[in-house]
């Protein structure tokens, strides 16, 4: 009797949330998988089923290939800066946890992560500006020739990586700090008795113990990196102001194919590619975690 009453409450209480989920998550995810198999253009009357044809066409699409190359370089570039720097800074902040300034360090490093993306990107756009920006002025003091940072395809990618790492760093430091606070103290005491230097205990105790945290932060950073969009939209506008012409990224290519060219089936196939990337990164994370558990 009570069991049935409880179950009824549970279902009634969940019903609104489940209905919303079905409509704004489950159905659209299913629909994107379905759309990717159709030639679904806004204007055409028939929208025939074409199997994997959209995916085959993607492989011949130079714009898409550029986009996925740029996106991967950006995502792994951000990762390569964020993980070592984030771990190092978290270690230093942890070492100074007693300091009155530790709250300031945490806030200052974390602020870029919550600052609105577009204004932040605009700040960097000025810093990188070829004619008026402070970066070229600074480099000028060291005798470096001014560079057109945002108008060179290679340098523009570097700029997006710097902006992305600046934003991602605060999150990495925060999660590493939580991980470092939860580390056991016994191994460090033992190492100290054995005469290990601080660097040695960092290298041979902290880094291995932090592996699950490092994996987690890496996957979150990479997934966010693969979704890079606003950064490229603001930073890499061309001289006429058209956004993202110079550095094409995956989400941008997808948005153009759907909302400019109205090729929704084709854009859905790109979305599925993005999904596959994210799923494989997550699978790799879980695989590496399990491997570690097996050895322990």
């Amino acid at each position: 009797m009570l069991q049935r009453r409880k179950f009824l409450f549970a279902i009634l209480a969940l019903a609104p949330t489940l209905a919303i989920y079905a409509w704004v998550r489950v159905y659209p995810i299913g629909d994107v998988l379905r759309l990717s198999l159709y030639q679904w253009n806004l204007l055409s009357r028939n929208k025939p089923f074409i199997g994997l044809e959209n995916f085959r066409a993607l492989l011949d699409d130079q714009l898409f290939l550029d986009a996925i190359t740029n996106t991967s370089i950006i995502a792994f570039g951000i990762l390569a800066i964020t993980i070592p720097l984030g771990m190092g800074l978290a270690m230093l902040i942890h070492a100074r946890a007693a300091s009155r300034l530790s709250g300031f360090y945490e806030t200052a490093i974390f602020l870029p992560h919550v600052a609105s993306l577009v204004p932040a990107a605009m700040a960097w756009k000025w810093i990188f500006d070829a004619r008026l920006g402070p970066l070229n002025a600074l480099l000028g003091w060291f005798g470096v020739q001014p560079k057109a940072w945002l108008f060179d395809p290679v340098l523009a990618v570097v700029c997006i990586i710097v902006l992305g790492a600046w934003q991602a760093l605060g999150y990495a430091v925060l999660i590493f700090l939580v991980g470092i606070k939860n580390l056991p103290t016994a191994p460090y005491e033992a190492a100290k008795i054995d005469g290990a230097s601080p660097w040695q205990s960092f290298r041979y105790i902290s880094i291995p113990l932090l592996k699950p945290i490092t994996l987690y932060v890496s996957v979150v950073t990479l997934v966010a990196g693969f979704n890079v969009y606003a950064q490229a939209f603001v930073l890499a506008s061309d001289s006429q102001g058209a956004p993202g012409r110079l550095v094409r990224v995956l989400v941008l290519d997808m948005m153009e194919n759907s909302f400019r060219n109205y090729r929704f089936g084709y854009a859905a196939a790109e979305a599925v590619v993005l999904l596959l990337v994210v799923l494989s990164l997550t699978a790799i994370q879980f695989g590496l975690l399990r491997e570690r558990g097996g050895r322990a």
Binding site: T17, T107, L111, W126, V220
Partner: protein, 289 residues
């Protein structure tokens, strides 16, 4: 840096050496923290510069003769305040929806477990892995079918629920709310909804506060979704308005910076005030396995 400091002071007592190391670490962290803040600081400084000063080479750091003209003209000539209002309403409504759905379903998933309910939770958790950009296109058609394009309600549809919020509340409920408390209320004859509202919700104030801050900032900084849903100048959110404004007026850096500063300063202040809540919310994602 700290290594050099340590070796130089090796003749000193351990306590002094520790102090020198601490000072060296402080110096590194202080320089780094200021460097992280520098871009935001430069942006706000530019907002107070006159057009002549902005064209100077080398660029100035602090405005030499501060002016409010940029702010005046940007508020007068663009629907900036309308955009801020749109963003604000969108973020508030999204926060309310996320807090409400997360509170009740987190509680149910935490305390009313059977095979069906666990399976439903697994589905919700699984959808959390899928980035928003993946299913944005079909979701756009949902909004279009309802005739809600270019409205705050259309924006809201993308940000009604947050899987992580449900997860956060569920974990908190399991870890901190004893079954005996709920049983005792039942024996006293309390109804299930009454128990949720009068007993559980007050106990969830902490995590719901953290979640609210997360949800607000998530909607406030949203970009790709508002860009496709809000396509008329009156319906832009502030992020979209600014992004399109900056591609249109590539030269007018002063007004751009003023607009950006008007957005950045309140949200950064809000963050500083709510820092503890926010950090608690974000940090707890670190425990996700």
């Amino acid at each position: 840096m700290s290594d050099a400091a340590t070796s130089r002071s090796s003749a000193l007592s351990p306590a002094t050496r520790q102090r020198v190391t601490d000072l060296a670490i402080d110096a590194v962290l202080l320089i780094f923290s200021l460097a992280m803040l520098l871009p935001l600081f430069l942006l706000v400084a530019n907002a107070f510069k006159s057009p002549q000063e902005l064209l100077q080479w080398p660029p100035t750091i602090l405005p030499r003769a501060g002016t409010l003209d940029n702010f005046r003209s940007v508020i007068g000539d663009t629907p900036l305040l309308q955009w801020v209002l749109n963003s604000f309403l969108f973020a508030i409504l999204s926060t309310i929806a996320i807090v409400a759905t997360s509170a009740i379903s987190g509680y149910v998933f935490g305390k009313f477990r059977n095979r069906l309910i666990n399976a439903l939770f697994a589905i919700i958790l699984a959808t959390a892995i899928v980035p928003f950009e993946v299913y944005m296109i079909p979701l756009y058609f949902n909004v279009q079918k309802l005739g809600l394009l270019n409205s705050i309600w259309g924006l809201l549809i993308g940000y009604l629920v947050m899987s992580f919020g449900i997860f956060l509340i569920r974990q908190y409920v399991i870890a901190t709310i004893p079954d005996e408390l709920i049983e005792a209320a039942r024996i006293d004859g309390a109804g299930e909804f009454w128990i949720f509202w009068k007993v559980i919700v007050p106990l969830l104030r902490g995590p719901l506060g953290a979640l609210a801050v997360l949800a607000f900032f998530q909607a406030w900084t949203a970009f790709a979704w508002p860009l496709i849903i809000a396509t008329t100048k009156e319906s832009y959110t502030i992020e979209v308005g600014l992004a399109l404004f900056q591609t249109g007026f590539t030269v007018d850096l002063g007004r751009l910076s003023a607009a950006a500063a008007l957005v950045l300063v309140p949200s950064v202040t809000l963050f500083a005030v709510l820092r503890r809540n926010f950090v608690q919310g974000v940090a707890s994602t670190g425990f996700r396995e």
